[in-house]
């Protein structure tokens, strides 16, 4: 009998490049093709807007190579997707591409590495505020004539997701420089960029922060030496559930506003800020609706494109009208499928994915679903910044913003005590009617590592199947994608005694894949 072809049979050995793009049925393939054309339209528009500058940027910055692989990255995030899931994912990703290319244009137009001695670039820099990428840039809405840029987002965070090998060179540089090799790869990558002088030279001032953890605080020192901009730390309290810290959190923001006013020469615009907060509240409401839909038997908006978009929205485009329009469009698409009761995927298990996901395997969720039928109905990284901001007064908005910071990406759960990291897991498990937990064991996130035993005890006490998946956030040289898959394979075969949905995906070599 002829062996049935699986998804991995269409992948080239080692690079995992698709021999041909995925056949998803006539309608979905046509939709995917159109969205692919839309993506290329965005990329060509960007490239053609400043051709010389962009070519120079690609040749100047190693991390820019990763952006050339974006079409392939989007394909990976949409692997196996059909119906509303595919449509939602493609719209989210293309919105992301259009926003990122716009920001890259601003960055490169102002970059003194690319335009040394340029008066025009100097002028542009007077209106650019750099902020640590872990500080959501909603505050920037109060400076409508300036552009607030998440400083490490574009050279570090996004490339680490797009191309798993992009952090390796920079991590090596920080280790060669003599920095300890056992810190989390995120701050190591940032330090490597500073050592290699691979951050764009932009901005008039910089807001740094103590987010999300000690590793990041250390690397800020190195980055400051390289960047050389006037800077101020915006401290965000760790024990964010406690009321006593809130006055301090608001004071920190007031002081940051005074710092930004001084260096940009602009007055903080409360009306513009209020408008930004109101848009953000509506973006958040769209997210709540998506979560509600994911609690049904037909979870339509799951996987990497959902959490990646959420992080980007929360950090980079909170309060952005175009992002809200995308959310409303995607929700309309998802609602239709749920109302029709259609579920175009094989779901055997509903899983809660806990702890920080693995950047160097952003499409891990797709693999879980396509190989074992494990649907990621709820993810820890997706749940942050969920309180609506009260826009009634200046004070209430600042309190809302302080909360928005304290419940930011990685911070909401990995700091703040066991009730947010541990208790919340069992609540979400019930809420989403889950039947298993995928626990990321991020080997260099020591704060969470310390309570690994409590997760295991809790799962055992409740009789919940829980698989631990080792990973190292963005360093594929410590734990490979294959090893991550293997953790799940062993669990599914020996504990759950199950057969895969697609046997070709159980074991394949993608070590050289982007």
């Amino acid at each position: 009998m002829k062996k049935k072809k699986g998804a991995a049979d269409n992948l080239k050995n080692k690079t995992a490049i698709q021999k041909h793009r995925e056949w998803r049925g006539g309608l979905d393939t046509a939709y995917d093709y159109m969205q692919w054309c839309r993506l290329w339209g965005i990329l060509i528009k960007w490239a053609a807007s400043h051709p010389v500058q962009n070519v120079r940027a690609v040749f100047r910055y190693r991390w820019m190579f990763s952006y050339l692989t974006v079409p392939s990255f989007f394909d990976r995030l949409c692997e196996g997707q059909r119906g509303a899931g595919l449509r939602g994912a493609r719209n989210n990703l293309n919105y992301l591409a259009s926003d990122v290319t716009k920001t890259l244009t601003t960055i490169f137009s102002a970059d003194m590495h690319l335009h040394p001695d340029s008066k025009k670039a100097e002028e542009l820099n007077k209106r650019i505020i750099c902020v640590d990428e872990l500080l959501p840039n909603l505050l920037g809405k109060g400076f409508p004539d300036c552009k607030m840029i998440l400083f490490q987002e574009y050279p570090m965070y996004l490339p680490s997701l797009i191309n798993q090998h992009s952090p390796v060179h920079y991590i090596e540089q920080s280790e060669l420089y003599g920095l300890p090799a056992d810190v989390c790869p995120l701050p190591s990558f940032e330090a490597g960029l500073a050592i290699e002088d691979d951050f764009p030279k932009i901005g008039c001032c910089m807001l740094t922060s103590n987010m999300p953890c000690d590793g990041s605080i250390m690397t800020t020192m190195l980055q400051e030496r390289r960047i050389g901009l006037p800077s101020q730390v915006l401290n965000v309290p760790l024990r964010w559930k406690e009321d006593e810290v809130q006055d301090y959190a608001v004071e920190e923001i007031r002081s940051a506003i005074a710092f930004l006013e001084e260096h940009t020469g602009q007055k903080f615009d409360w009306d513009a800020f209020k408008e930004g907060c109101e848009i953000w509240n509506r973006q958040n409401e769209c997210k709540f609706e998506k979560w509600d839909m994911n609690r049904t038997d037909i979870p339509p908006h799951t996987g990497s494109s959902a959490w990646l978009y959420r992080i980007f929205e929360h950090q980079a485009v909170a309060g952005e009208p175009r992002a809200l329009r995308n959310d409303l469009k995607v929700n309309r698409i998802l609602r239709k499928q749920v109302a029709a009761g259609k579920c175009p995927k094989t779901i055997r298990h509903r899983a809660v994915l806990w702890n920080t996901p693995c950047n160097n395997y952003a499409n891990f969720n797709n693999w879980l679903l396509n190989c074992w039928g494990i649907e990621s109905v709820c993810e820890m990284i997706d749940i942050h910044g969920t309180d609506l901001i009260d826009t009634g007064s200046h004070e209430s908005m600042l309190r809302g913003l302080a909360d928005h910071y304290q419940t930011s990406t990685m911070r909401a759960h990995t700091k703040g005590g066991s009730e947010v990291m541990l208790d919340s897991l069992w609540e979400k498990y019930e809420e989403y009617n889950a039947d298993m937990i995928i626990m990321f064991d991020q080997i260099s996130c020591k704060g969470v590592g310390a309570i690994n035993g409590l997760f295991e005890e809790g799962a055992m006490k409740r009789g919940i199947p829980m698989v631990r998946v080792r990973q190292d956030l963005m360093d594929p040289t410590s734990i490979t994608r294959r090893e991550m898959r293997n953790d799940v394979n062993i669990f599914m075969q020996s504990v759950m005694k199950e057969e895969p949905v697609d046997a070709s995906l159980v074991e394949f070599d993608d070590d050289e894949s982007w």
């Binding site: 021999k19 290329w40 190693r62 190579f65 692989t69 392939s72 394909d75 420089y177 030496r225």
Partner: protein
């Protein structure tokens, strides 16, 4: 009528070029081809690592 003919020709030409690129993943394969030379270039760039 002529305008419609031109429009249809343009659309067909667009499809004839882009559909094979899409289906055979030629855009990704092309980027893979330039990866090595690009990395060589980045490796050979002079760097000032003093902080």
């Amino acid at each position: 009528m002529k305008a419609i003919k031109i429009l249809i020709t343009i659309m067909l030409a667009f499809l004839a070029v882009t559909v094979p690129i899409y289906w055979f993943n030629l855009d990704t394969k092309l980027v893979k081809l330039i990866e090595k030379p690009m990395m060589k270039r980045y490796d050979s760039m002079p760097r000032d690592n003093r902080l």
